[in-house]
């Protein structure tokens, strides 16, 4: 079992964005930027993938940032410091390829800011000039602004509704950056599928290499089940082992978006049931902590 050693709420309470720090020395020691874990909160739980946003190899801990969007993430959000997570498997996925490209634009949309943060950090450390663009639907949902500023040479912020800094999508800001005289060598974009799709369309027309991190439904995340398959350059790839990062210009985003809706109906059932009767699962977690 894996103990939660720190927990904080990012932004406003109602937005349900959490940061938790988990005690897992081996993962903390071996993980690289771009990798993720799969966790299961309790014995009845499903296996959900979450990106490793930071790690402290000395303290033996790593950090997750997630948004409570369905039953599993809601339940995880309710867990507190000292609680134990049943299973954590990781690090998973291929690490981001980090080298000195020159100028790199790192784009994070919504909760995607969390996974782009370690990449921006690593890119800057490798000697790149890092221009970061972060955006969210509104001010309350914008996370990790200060962390991103530290990880970048320049930070540009936008909100969909204009409630903070400026109105517009991250893609609008990217177009402006592209129109500057300076050459861009690489774009890294992580966020909702529609965002990654639009960004990839833009950079394709300018011939700028673009990396996106895909978030298909996953189950085992060891390459055994194939549910995470995505089409990249006309070929089927398993995102959990071949990715999660791929060349954005080659990804079939339409297929990914569609496949993400597979269990929409069931997810609603699970959330409804949980909202009406959270006690049974929460008791299970309590029991789990007793045994520890």
């Amino acid at each position: 079992m894996f103990k939660i050693v720190n927990k904080s709420i990012l932004g406003k309470e109602e937005t349900g964005i959490y940061r938790i720090v988990i005690d897992a020395p081996r993962i903390a020691r071996t993980r690289h930027a771009g990798q993720f874990v799969v966790l299961r909160t309790n014995e009845q739980g499903e296996r959900i993938p979450l990106t490793i946003c930071d790690a402290d190899p000395v303290a033996g801990t790593f950090t997750l940032v997630f948004q409570a969007v369905g039953k599993s993430t809601m339940q995880l959000g309710k867990m507190n410091v000292g609680d134990n997570i049943q299973d954590v498997l990781g690090p998973l996925g291929r690490p981001t390829h980090i080298e000195n490209y020159g100028t790199v634009v790192c784009i994070g949309g919504g909760i995607g800011i969390a996974p782009v943060h370690p990449i921006a950090q690593a890119m800057k450390q490798a000697g790149n000039k890092v221009i970061s663009i972060i955006g969210a639907r509104s001010k309350d949902l914008l996370i990790l602004e200060e962390e991103m500023r530290r990880a970048s040479n320049e930070l540009l912020v936008t909100t969909d509704d204009g409630s903070y800094v400026r109105k517009g999508f991250t893609s609008d800001v990217l177009k402006e950056v592209i129109n500057r005289p300076e050459k861009i060598d690489l774009v890294v974009a992580i966020g909702p599928v529609p965002m990654m799709r639009v960004i990839s369309d833009i950079t394709r027309s300018y011939g700028i290499k673009t990396m996106v991190s895909l978030n298909p439904i996953m189950l085992d995340a060891t390459g055994m089940c194939g549910v995470c398959r995505v089409t990249v350059g006309g070929k089927t790839q398993f995102a959990c082992v071949d990715g999660p990062e791929f060349d954005g210009h080659l990804v079939d985003f339409g297929e990914l978006q569609k496949r993400l809706t597979t269990y929409l109906k069931d997810e609603k059932i699970a959330v409804e049931k949980y909202k009406h009767n959270p006690s049974c699962v929460d008791l299970a977690i309590a029991a789990q902590n007793q045994t520890k």
Partner: protein, 462 residues
């Protein structure tokens, strides 16, 4: 009374109409009385052919004799001298191709039900808490790592523990047992049985570390650096093969691995009690005809499907599944569409709507000696289904092997291991089970686990 007069004893089982509504085990097993009656059919051959038919050479006449005398626990212990997992093998071995195939009684009559007897005595031993821990020789103070907790890994770990080694099993999933827990369904192999085998290993002092994907969290070289003297790789054949036909990424197309894992490992049939969902559909097509296909088709029925097709491009004679499974599937009403080959999956709004197939006929024998199926011109038709489960086989998962280039692979991506010792091309690393042989059987994987344990012992002590 001449022995041949006794008929082979049938195992009582759940009625088909009942059992397709639940996930409980289908056969109930023998009673003591039936078991003794069946054991009496054995001729106690001086040169027992049956033993040659068993990959781990279970002492069949000896244990069957003990059964006929009512010494059930002793019988179980006799089997365990060469087979550590009899409750599992009794249920899933393809007996008709192994021990029972060559049984002399089978020449004129039906063979002795070796598998059913094996199952009976080991269940009895377990249910009476009569499982005995053998004496373990002095600890050797040397560590061995086993990667993968399928039948190959578990057997290798058990044998090494019995030789006094300090064994740690590393398993990627959150539960150990390999295909026995994530693939083979509850109604065929209850998970409490697998768990009890794993618990038995713990009693022998084997440590099991789940949630450890070797190749990512640690490489094999890391394991040596951490003080392990030798490593056994038993990672199985866990890479799902797809048909590579149009429409395969539509919603509703599953690999059998995904379909079965959701149901078995994650208990999706208990959703929303358990959080993992699965598509419950009305009409299902399962492609393939091995055990994996039968398991998927019968699982679909139990999830409430009204119609389940099993689509196979060859004929009945070539179906690779165990005979019991084929019978059970037919009894339950699975519709076998033989000599039929899928060529496209058709969708509507991203969801499966139908599968387009061609009828086939058998031509000349191919490389495998089986008659090659050839398409019949103009025989195209659409099978209306809402999910498709692809169960055409599994290849080796490349993850660990990509991280360990020193281990040489053959042309199919399986590990090249010495046929005698199961040594790989990396010093101190041995391999066995499906990762070496390609998808095979539980008992074959166990047999290799045993050989590797012997080789590892020799490697460390010499």
């Amino acid at each position: 009374m001449p022995k041949e007069k006794i008929q082979r004893q049938k195992m009582p089982e759940q009625k088909p109409q009942e059992r397709i509504k639940n996930f409980n085990e289908v056969p109930f097993g023998y009673s003591a009385e039936i078991a003794m009656k069946e054991a009496n059919r054995c001729l106690q051959c001086k040169k027992p052919l049956c033993v040659k038919g068993c990959p781990v050479e279970v002492a069949i006449p000896e244990f069957v004799k003990l059964v006929s005398e009512g010494k059930f626990v002793e019988a179980s212990r006799k089997i365990k001298e060469t087979n550590a997992l009899p409750a599992i093998c009794g249920r899933v071995c393809p007996q008709e191709d192994q021990c029972e195939k060559v049984c002399i009684v089978g020449k004129k009559d039906k063979p002795v039900a070796v598998g059913a007897l094996e199952r009976f005595v080991s269940d009895l031993e377990r249910n009476n808490n009569a499982i005995k821990i053998p004496d373990i020789p002095e600890k050797k103070n040397r560590k061995v790592a086993v990667v993968g907790s399928g039948p190959a890994g578990l057997t290798c770990a058990g044998d090494l523990a019995l030789k006094g080694y300090d064994v740690t099993v590393f398993e990627a999933l959150h539960k150990s047992g390999g295909v026995l827990v994530y693939g083979i369904p509850e109604f065929r192999l209850p998970k409490v049985i697998v768990q009890s085998e794993v618990d038995y290993l713990s009693m022998l002092g084997v440590k099991v570390e789940t949630n450890m994907l070797i190749g990512r969290i640690a490489t094999i070289s890391d394991l040596f650096n951490e003080g392990f003297s030798s490593v056994f790789v038993g990672t199985g054949a866990g890479l799902p093969l797809f048909l590579h036909i149009p429409g395969e990424n539509l919603i509703g197309v599953f690999s059998a691995n995904e379909y079965l894992t959701r149901v078995n490992l994650m208990k999706a049939y208990l959703f929303p009690e358990y959080d993992t969902p699965i598509i419950r559909s009305r009409r299902v097509a399962v492609v393939g005809a091995g055990n994996v296909a039968m398991d998927s088709a019968r699982t679909a029925l139990r999830l409430g499907a009204e119609k389940v097709y099993l689509v196979y491009r060859r004929s009945r004679d070539e179906m690779p599944a165990r005979i019991d499974e084929i019978h059970h599937a037919e009894e339950e009403g699975i519709d076998f569409q033989l000599l039929t080959n899928p060529i496209e999956i058709l969708g509507k709004d991203g969801y499966v709507r139908a599968m387009k197939c061609l009828r086939m006929q058998l031509g000349e024998p191919d490389d495998s000696g089986r008659r090659r199926p050839i398409p019949i011109k103009g025989s195209e038709f659409e099978m209306e289904v809402d999910i498709v489960v692809v169960a055409i086989g599994n290849g080796p998962n490349p993850l660990l092997l990509r991280a360990t280039p020193e281990i040489e692979l053959n042309q199919w991506g399986n590990i090249k291991a010495d046929t005698e010792t199961l040594a790989t091309t990396k010093k101190g690393v041995y391999a066995g089970g499906d990762i070496v042989t390609g998808a095979a059987t539980v008992i074959a994987a166990m047999g290799q686990g045993k050989i590797a344990a012997r080789s590892i012992d020799r490697f460390i002590t010499t």
